[in-house]
């Protein structure tokens, strides 16, 4: 029974948007599969890793049969990707096998029953909802997500803290050495609630959300969050844990401020980074009247020195940082200028963008 007949991209594009979360090796074989559900002219695709579930839809697809089946997501994606763009694809469900046909190419894939596919239960009970544009949310998380921990034993750091509070939506990521904060205004007025999105959910949203003004509907439950945008719905579990109090570590009163051209600073920093010690990645930053010096040295006694012009009239300064933490923020910030504020060489530095009080990045120094 032919359940689908369409141009390659009508199937490949939605497949690629759900298959990012599919784990290659998983405890349950069916989790390597994508669920294809064809009804009338609409094809629904679902993938899950139990923690996250992504559903998307392709409309106006051909093929007169209806049906539902699960098939290996990565294999189907690899096949479709290696066929020519213009190929017309037929999916033919035949006796527990899915035949993928295009021109003279034939692929017979094994399937698992659609009924066995685990679907995430949508949590009942109280929920909050809000809408923002895809671009806004992408900007919000894009400016912070790089500061998330990756495999920390403090599991609640391996994610992004999202907070609704009145008319504000805030997000915070930290790995214990640096912290990124960003916020935006929303059109709702909601009671304060904190939630921690798993790292994988954040990376996936960052990948899937468009740079456009289309709406993104967010629904927050007690242990689940739902993002609906375009034809796609992403449901994710929340990390159960207490995120550290970010307000305590964002310094309020700082004595010295430096303003520099972001690009210039980033380029100089990237060059110096080449000769940092692989393990510590430390750079020495020296500030004096309107001059910033970056010095890096590695275990082989090789040395890099950079000097750039900045706006600074504070006390002379000599401090070390992990260059990765600095490159991360300069790389992810837009805008022409960055402001760097600090008290002394032993306490945290605050990096902000002049004229933007919504973004804050706090980084601890490193002993060189």
């Amino acid at each position: 029974m032919v359940i689908l007949k369409s141009q390659r991209d009508a199937l490949l594009a939605p497949l690629q948007s759900v298959s990012g979360i599919v784990e290659r090796r998983h405890t349950l074989p069916i989790l390597s599969n994508v669920l294809l559900e064809k009804q009338g002219e609409s094809l629904t695709l679902i993938a899950t890793d139990i923690e996250i579930q992504i559903t998307t839809r392709s409309e106006n697809v051909g093929g007169n049969g209806d049906g539902a089946v699960t098939v290996a997501a990565k294999k189907l994606q690899d096949i479709l990707r290696s066929l020519p763009d213009s190929a017309e694809i037929t999916l033919d469900l035949e006796d527990k096998r899915l035949l993928v046909k295009a021109g003279k190419s034939r692929f017979s894939l094994q399937t698992l029953p659609a009924d066995d596919f685990p679907r995430m239960a949508i949590s009942e009970g109280e929920s909050k909802s809000l809408s923002v544009t895809q671009k806004q949310f992408r900007y919000l998380i894009g400016k912070t997500q790089y500061a998330m921990a990756a495999q920390d034993v403090r599991y609640y750091l391996n994610g992004l803290m999202l907070m609704v509070d009145g008319k504000e939506l805030r997000c915070v990521a930290t790995d214990g050495h640096r912290l990124a904060f960003n916020s935006m205004e929303i059109e709702a007025d909601l009671a304060r609630q904190e939630m921690i999105l798993p790292r994988k959910t954040v990376l996936e949203l960052n990948r899937l959300l468009g740079d456009n003004d289309e709406p993104l509907h967010i629904t927050v439950g007690s242990n689940q969050i739902r993002f609906a945008f375009g034809h796609t719905v992403l449901v994710s579990k929340l990390i159960d844990g207490k995120f550290p109090d970010y307000e305590r570590v964002i310094p309020a009163q700082l004595a010295n401020h430096m303003i520099a051209d972001r690009q210039t600073l980033h380029s100089a920093m990237s060059r110096a980074a080449i000769l940092t010690n692989d393990k510590f990645r430390g750079v020495r930053i020296m500030l004096a009247d309107n001059v910033l010096k970056i010095i890096a040295a590695n275990a082989e006694q090789e040395e890099a020195q950079e000097e750039i012009e900045v706006k600074y009239d504070g006390a002379p300064m000599d401090v070390g940082f992990n260059v990765t933490y600095l490159l991360d923020v300069f790389n992810n910030l837009g805008g022409d200028e960055v402001q760097w504020s600090f008290n002394d060489a032993n306490s945290s530095a605050l990096i902000t963008v002049p004229g933007n009080d919504r973004f804050k990045y706090v980084v601890m120094p490193m002993r060189i």
């Binding site: 495999q151 214990g176 570590v249 430390g282 032993n346 002993r367």
Partner: protein
């Protein structure tokens, strides 16, 4: 390297079983099998005599921890299932393992040896290597004195091999068991080592032996006669060259008197196979208990671990391992449990599980863990 080394390998004879016989001397000369710690202990009767469990009465899934030479003569060896060994030796006496007692006897024999020859490499509970090169006494009387000291301290016999290196010494201690002394010089290799099966070389296990057999190599002599490049082709550069050296009795490895452990692990075979879903509470309890025991081992030995791994053996005996490396070394049971739990998510869990193990590798001595990156990089003052 000194080419005239005198290296001894001292191996306790049927160690666990012999310790048991110290407790139950009436069993001397009988086929005795030591099972797991859960096997029934002997009952002391009213008249002071003891009633022992017999192998034929055993029902369960324990394995033989060790057996006396009498039981070995009936085909019962360590690692064999107790039910299976009951078919071979139904009348054999079955005793529970008393690991604390074995450790005690182990400490005693090592202390007795150390008083005479202090250059000792500890190879486990019942065997040690000794470097006797610089010892003033001639070999034979010295070895006799060592054996005497071990006997006096523990009442147990041991077998000793003395050779120019550890590889040969280990082979030799096994040549005249029990209560033997084997002295070997390099010139004796063709007559005494080459006729032996390749498996006698410590490091050639059943798999490598089977591969050698398929290549027509069924003795150490045949291995020695095989060109090195042939071995390198079949076993790779490292192993091929090592096989060649080993067959010629060449081994330069020193006697290592103190060593840092590479990993610390604990494992358990369940009373019955457990399924992740149906037996979740039981499995979870056992899993947590394993993590707690490993954490206690780590604490006792003063280490933290950065690589936490798990080992599973399924009901069909297939085994899998997974591990995860953490950004910081950990030592507490909860952190180990969490990391091990992550590993468990990465293995197939449809089949029932027979054995579960938790392993802590990449050990860092406690107190040194934060010295490097951790301490240089400032932490946010949350």
């Amino acid at each position: 390297m000194n080419s005239n080394r005198r290296i001894a390998h001292l191996d306790m004879d049927a160690f666990f079983a012999s310790v048991e016989l110290r407790f139950y001397p009436e069993l001397q000369g009988q086929a005795v099998v030591v099972g797991g710690a859960r096997v029934h202990a002997p009952e002391t009767l009213a008249d002071g005599s003891r009633r022992f469990a017999r192998l034929r009465d055993y029902a369960g899934r324990g394995v033989v921890t060790t057996s006396t030479y009498e039981a070995r003569a009936l085909g019962v060896f360590s690692g064999m299932g107790l039910m299976k060994s009951a078919q071979l030796a139904p009348e054999a006496i079955l005793l529970p393992a008393q690991f604390e007692a074995y450790r005690d006897y182990s400490r005693r024999f090592k202390a007795a040896v150390a008083a005479i020859a202090p250059t000792i490499e500890d190879r486990g509970i019942d065997e040690i290597y000794l470097d006797l090169t610089d010892h003033p006494e001639p070999t034979l009387p010295l070895v006799q004195r060592l054996k005497g000291a071990v006997l006096e301290a523990t009442g147990l016999s041991c077998s000793v091999g003395v050779a120019p290196n550890k590889l040969l010494a280990k082979i030799c201690s096994d040549l005249d068991k029990p209560d033997g002394i084997t002295l070997l010089e390099a010139a004796d290799i063709p007559t005494r080592i080459w006729p032996l099966a390749p498996r006698k070389i410590n490091g050639i296990g059943p798999k490598a032996a089977a591969r050698l057999e398929r290549l027509g190599i069924d003795s150490i002599g045949a291995l020695a006669a095989t060109p090195e490049d042939f071995l390198v082709r079949h076993f790779g550069a490292g192993t091929g060259a090592w096989l060649h050296r080993a067959a010629h009795g060449v081994d330069h490895s020193p006697v290592v008197t103190s060593r840092e452990p590479k990993s610390i692990s604990r494992e358990t075979t369940f009373e019955r196979d457990l399924h992740v879903r149906q037996d979740r509470p039981e499995l979870s309890r056992q899993f947590t208990a394993l993590c707690e025991r490993v954490a206690a081992d780590l604490a006792r030995k003063g280490y933290l671990s950065r690589t936490i791994g798990i080992k599973l053996r399924y009901e069909d005996f297939q085994a899998v391992t997974r591990d995860v490396t953490l950004p910081v070394a950990v030592g507490d049971a909860a952190a180990i449990r969490r990391a091990a739990g992550e590993c468990l998510k990465r293995v197939p869990l449809e089949r029932k599980i027979r054995l579960l193990g938790v392993r802590c590798g990449a050990l860092v001595p406690q107190g040194q863990e934060s010295e490097e990156t951790e301490e240089r990089q400032g932490k946010l003052p949350f």
